[in-house]
């Protein structure tokens, strides 16, 4: 099972993410999103670790998924932290907790190839099949 793949969209860009569990789907969605921002291998730099708490009560996991990705994107835009490791420890209909880590992308601005404006809800549906979960996420670029 591919953790994520880039899919065609005329104006913007999307990924199809997959996961055996919902947690893995959320982690792979984040990996997919950061793969759009840069493809280059990250050069060794001091690692930056963060704990992410998404406090959002919703019966729709799609809302929590978008909140999670939007939070990571917000930190990236504000602090220029390029995340490449995601570990969700708790996920339910009240939100999630995760440990993420990455590197300062500030000095490497030139290699950032894509500005993601936002994570959209366009036709977003988490689907469950026998082998796990999948969803298509469209990003505004």
């Amino acid at each position: 099972m591919k953790p994520f793949e880039i899919i065609e969209h005329t104006a913007d860009i999307g990924i199809r993410a997959r996961g055996v569990t919902l947690m893995e789907l959320f982690e792979n969605s984040a990996r997919g999103m950061f793969s759009l921002i840069t493809k280059e291998a990250v050069k060794p730099q001091p690692e930056i670790r963060k704990e992410i708490h998404i406090d959002k009560s919703s019966d729709k996991f799609e809302e929590i998924l978008v909140a999670w990705l939007s939070e990571l994107l917000y930190i990236f835009n504000k602090e220029k932290v390029f995340f490449n490791s995601f570990k969700i420890s708790n996920l339910n209909n009240k939100g999630l907790k995760a440990d993420v880590s990455g590197f300062n992308a500030g000095p490497r601005q030139e290699s950032l190839r894509k500005e993601i404006k936002a994570v959209t809800f366009h036709n977003l549906r988490i689907e469950e099949a026998v082998d796990g979960f999948s969803c298509v996420i469209i990003f505004d670029v």
Partner: protein
Amino acid sequence: MKVPGVIYANEKLLYEIISDNATEQVANVACLPGIAKHSLAMPDIHWGYGFPIGGVAATDPDQGGVISPGGVGYDINCGVRLMRSDLLLEDLRPKLETLVNSLFNNIPSGVGSSGDIIAGVKDEEEIFIEGARWAVKKGYGSKEDLEFTENNGSIEGADPSKVSKRAYERGSDQSGTLGSGNHFLEIQVIDEIYDEKKAGAFGLFKGQITMMIHSGSRGLGYQICDDYVKGMFGCLSKYKISVPDMQLTCAPVNSPEGRSYLGAMKCAANYAWTNRQCLMYLARDVFEKAFNKSWSSLGLRLVYDVAHNIAKMERHNIDGKEKILCVHRKGATRAFPPGHPDLPDEYKDAGQPVIIPGDMGTFSYVLAGASGSMEETFGSACHGAGRRLSRSGAIKACHGRQIDKELFNKSGIIVRAKTRGTLAEEAPEAYKDVSEVVDVVHGAGLSVKVCRMRPLGVIKG
């Protein structure tokens, strides 16, 4: 669908339009509560999120009409401005490369770029309320620039208290920055005049050098849209609204949530006009240094500035009755006809300039709003060429090619971009034929063709 969907196209464009999901999106928009007359799509329509890009929808607040942040988009008041000059091609040619390099070096662009025009929290609040007036007050332009900007560069009713802390943060250092993706600054020459009288009214003539700027409200707008799309989910159950796509989440225009969004959206709209004003200031400065003359003696005057991602409360005629409607333009340009009270006096007879950028290898156009737009499209026309290929499709099509070299060798166009990826994504073949798009708008009587510009030098974010 509560109303029919109407797509403006010719046969060739229609084949491209039906090849993606844009038509389904026109149908989805037709389901919005209080939508008036029809869900519209301009000939540059392509698949977006929620609304199609190239979509126009007006809702009637008296009929429960809604406002949808997704119907404006993340880049609130993304738009274009056109600056004219007294320069001719022969004046520019020897300096073109220096100018393009200097523009590229002096105008901050690229992913998450920040600029030298730093606004503190107090300044930012002033920008939200005053828009481009703030820039002129600070010396980044003249009063005349404001006259030739949609809404004079400042829409009334902006409410900074409706803007989140995060949105403030993201806007703080991005004034006077171009951004990335399809945003650009382009030096052009007018190579064809279609309507001498209207061109004359806009101060345009054949052989003249012009400059076009395409940018928006940067991180501020993205964050405001994001906050309100998420915030309005609760409105769906509260106001018993059902939408076919979560990205179409909305609230009645007259609800507290709808009013809050409008107040915040107007802050971003004003920020975007300030941004384009600051970008023009930076560009004028580059021209001044290159020619060793002041911008006014080079005749670097603003022709017009139009928004193409915005929602506006406007007066329109519905079945013989004048109504105030909430007009969403998502990748569509306002195109008011001659005589419209919102036009500057100088353009009252000609109509509003409708500025249509094409791709970086072909042409851009100036049109003038015509009466058909008020009768059929809530005073709107197209906004550009419209994408034909997806971004990854364009990268595949351009694999192994050097787009900048191709453009230079084929047409003498000098292109500078932050990344090679941007060049491939924005390659001319990624876009529809802009000439076909404007011909449809002209033929339908929504706007009238005035002149055509050919690119000479392009700065891509």
